[in-house]
């Protein structure tokens, strides 16, 4: 392998700095002892972390976001896997249309989606409910799962499934024992991507939440609209640390490379 030159190393360092800078700023601001946003912080204090505990609505919002992410990502996966199987395997009329239909949430501007969901949910009396929110999020994140599952399906040698059939496996057994394990990294990757997308969705969500179902990003957004204290920074810092912890856990259990890049050594 060719060694990287000084220019390439400089470029990568700049890139990493650019990616990390906002995170560093947030972490810095979160430990400030002052009552306003300050960077670099003039001291070290956990004041604004303690303040989170005095604002239980932030904790409720975070729990809501977590639940919403899990439920909508799971819903999306349950829909996307069979859909991907059909789109990849069968040559039926309207196959392209079906694919376009499932991918359409990516095409429509999110503001428009938000208004549409609001109108629709109000119409059927589900506005502000958790289930209404979960279904809307599932619709938004389905394209992500579908795309990843389709990609891993197209990389799968069809002869492998035929081999299993020839050995006497039924369709369901083939799916459970052969196809599923082969596309598992796509499914898990899709789920994680869907979860993350749902977790930080604001534009659509802001239209269809009510105070009891509000999510963390929406809560942060409205907090900023009213005041500018470092509470938003400490809440963000907790979210960042939580994400890092989850990533480390996933890496230990499954391997991040395998998840994000697919394939890889077993």
């Amino acid at each position: 392998m060719r060694r990287n030159g000084p220019f390439a190393i400089g470029f990568m360092a700049l890139f990493a700095l650019f990616m990390l800078a906002p995170i560093i700023v947030v972490l810095g601001v979160s430990v400030t002892p002052t009552g306003y946003l300050e960077f670099p912080p003039s001291g070290l204090s956990l004041r604004w972390f303690r303040a989170i505990l005095d604002n239980p609505d932030f904790i409720d919002a975070a729990i809501n976001s977590l639940k919403l992410g899990v439920v909508s990502a799971t819903l999306a996966t349950l829909v996307a896997v069979p859909a991907a199987m059909a789109i990849d395997r069968r040559r039926f009329h309207g196959r392209e249309a079906l694919l376009a239909f499932f991918m359409s949430p990516l095409m429509v501007p999110t503001v428009v989606l938000g208004i549409a969901f609001l109108r629709f949910l109000t119409l059927i009396g589900f506005n502000g409910t958790f289930s209404g929110l979960a279904v809307c999020h599932a619709i938004i994140v389905t394209p992500f799962v579908l795309r990843l599952v389709l990609a891993s399906l197209s990389g799968l040698d069809r002869a492998v499934e035929k081999a299993a059939v020839a050995l006497g496996a039924s369709d369901w057994t083939v799916f459970r024992r052969i196809t599923m394990p082969s596309i598992l990294s796509g499914i898990i990757g899709g789920w994680v991507l869907a979860f993350i997308t749902s977790f930080d969705e604001v534009t659509v969500t802001i239209f269809i939440v009510n105070p009891s179902t509000t999510t963390l990003p929406v809560r942060l957004f409205s907090h900023i609209a009213q005041t500018t204290d470092p509470l938003v920074a400490s809440v963000s810092a907790v979210a960042i640390l939580f994400t890092v912890a989850v990533m480390l856990l996933v890496d230990r259990i499954y391997g991040l490379d395998r998840l994000l890049i697919g394939e890889g050594a077993k």
Partner: protein, 353 residues
């Protein structure tokens, strides 16, 4: 009644006839090759036997049982795919065990049979390895063991050796034949490699454009090709257009580019024909030459020399054993001779091939 019988088997993909009224038999315990160039319908035929492709018309009978309507998973055939199609998330032993699990074979017996199958393909030491960590030849053996462990009535091989490099391919040819004999399994192999087909099979079925051209033992396919296509596809051959002047059971006379030549016997009537002669059947002689010509190219192949000689009837390939002496060089004039039975007469309707 033969063990496997294909009867006027036909497959059409829309306007394309991929397989056109193919009929041939495979005897129990024998090794038969389906040989033909790319796109001639070999894989399609195999897939129809395996049950993965619908039959347009015709009939497949296995051991007296009509396979029409029998789904692939109930046919109980062993199949080795060109890509091997191993289960990448399973170890060697798990791959081989899969078919037995599907048959509900109890665990203890499964273990014994997996061990026996791996032993047969000399792979016992790799039973806990994943396919990713194995070489092409080793994967090939896993695929064979997986297909054989279910003790199939029929083993189907689709270009099983084409993914291996030349040296390994030769090795695996011998291995494949040994394994097939030891397992005693009736085998149908698809290949476009004529050398492989000749080396491995009891019988060869030559296919062209979805039709059977000839079905015979390897020696007979080579020695008495029925058509110009078979003659040129199997081994090397000089094929020239000619006119049959007269002929009977003892021999015949042909005229080729104005030169009269004595040729082998033919049932054909006088008229336009093709004549064919193998490069290794042409001798370079000092006296008694049938044709003389000038060497226009010379290639050294190690054990042999390949000469191209420009003669009055056209360019002829001549293969000479390397006897350690130097060979006629480019520009030399040489005399050529051959036995009249080695000059074969083929119907000219195949000339298009």
């Amino acid at each position: 009644m033969a063990f496997l019988e294909l009867n006027a088997l036909t497959k059409r993909f829309g306007p394309v006839t991929a397989v056109d009224r193919i009929s041939f038999n495979v005897e129990q315990g024998s090794f038969v090759s389906l040989l033909g160039p790319s796109g001639c319908g070999k894989t399609t035929t195999l897939q129809m036997i395996a049950g993965f492709e619908n039959v347009t018309s015709g009939k497949i009978t296995l051991n007296g049982r009509d396979l029409a309507g029998v789904p692939a998973r109930h046919r109980g055939l062993g199949i080795v795919f060109q890509s091997y199609a191993l289960f990448m998330h399973m170890t060697t032993a798990e791959n081989v065990s899969f078919g037995l699990e599907m048959r509900g074979v109890p665990g203890a017996e499964r273990k014994i049979r997996v061990a026996r199958a791996l032993d047969l393909v000399h792979l016992s030491h790799l039973s806990d390895r994943y396919p990713r960590t194995m070489s092409g030849g080793q994967r090939q053996r896993v695929a064979l063991a997986r297909a054989l462990v279910i003790e199939p009535e029929l083993l189907l091989l689709d270009e099983p050796l084409s993914n291996l490099d030349a040296k390994l391919r030769e090795e695996m040819q011998l291995e494949l034949r040994r394994i097939q004999r030891e397992a005693g399994v009736t085998t149908l192999m698809v290949t476009h490699d004529q050398a492989e087909a000749l080396a491995l099979s009891d019988r060869v079925v030559v296919l062209e454009k979805g039709q059977v051209q000839q079905e015979a033992a390897p020696f007979d396919v080579y020695e008495t090709p029925h058509t110009a296509f078979v003659s040129s596809f199997i081994g090397k051959s000089n094929t020239l257009p000619a006119t049959l002047v007269s002929g009977d059971a003892s021999g015949s006379i042909v005229e080729c580019a104005g030169v009269r030549l004595q040729a082998g016997a033919t049932p054909l009537a006088a008229g336009p024909v093709q004549i064919a002669i193998r490069p290794e059947r042409i001798e370079v002689v000092d006296d008694g030459a049938v044709l003389t010509g000038k060497v226009s190219e010379r290639v050294f192949l190690g054990n042999q020399w390949l000469l191209t000689v420009a003669t009055p009837v056209g360019n002829l390939l001549v293969l000479r054993r390397n006897a350690g002496r130097s060979e006629a060089d480019i520009g030399d004039t040489v005399g050529l001779a051959f036995r009249r039975v080695d000059l074969r007469i083929l119907a000219s309707s195949e000339a298009a091939a």
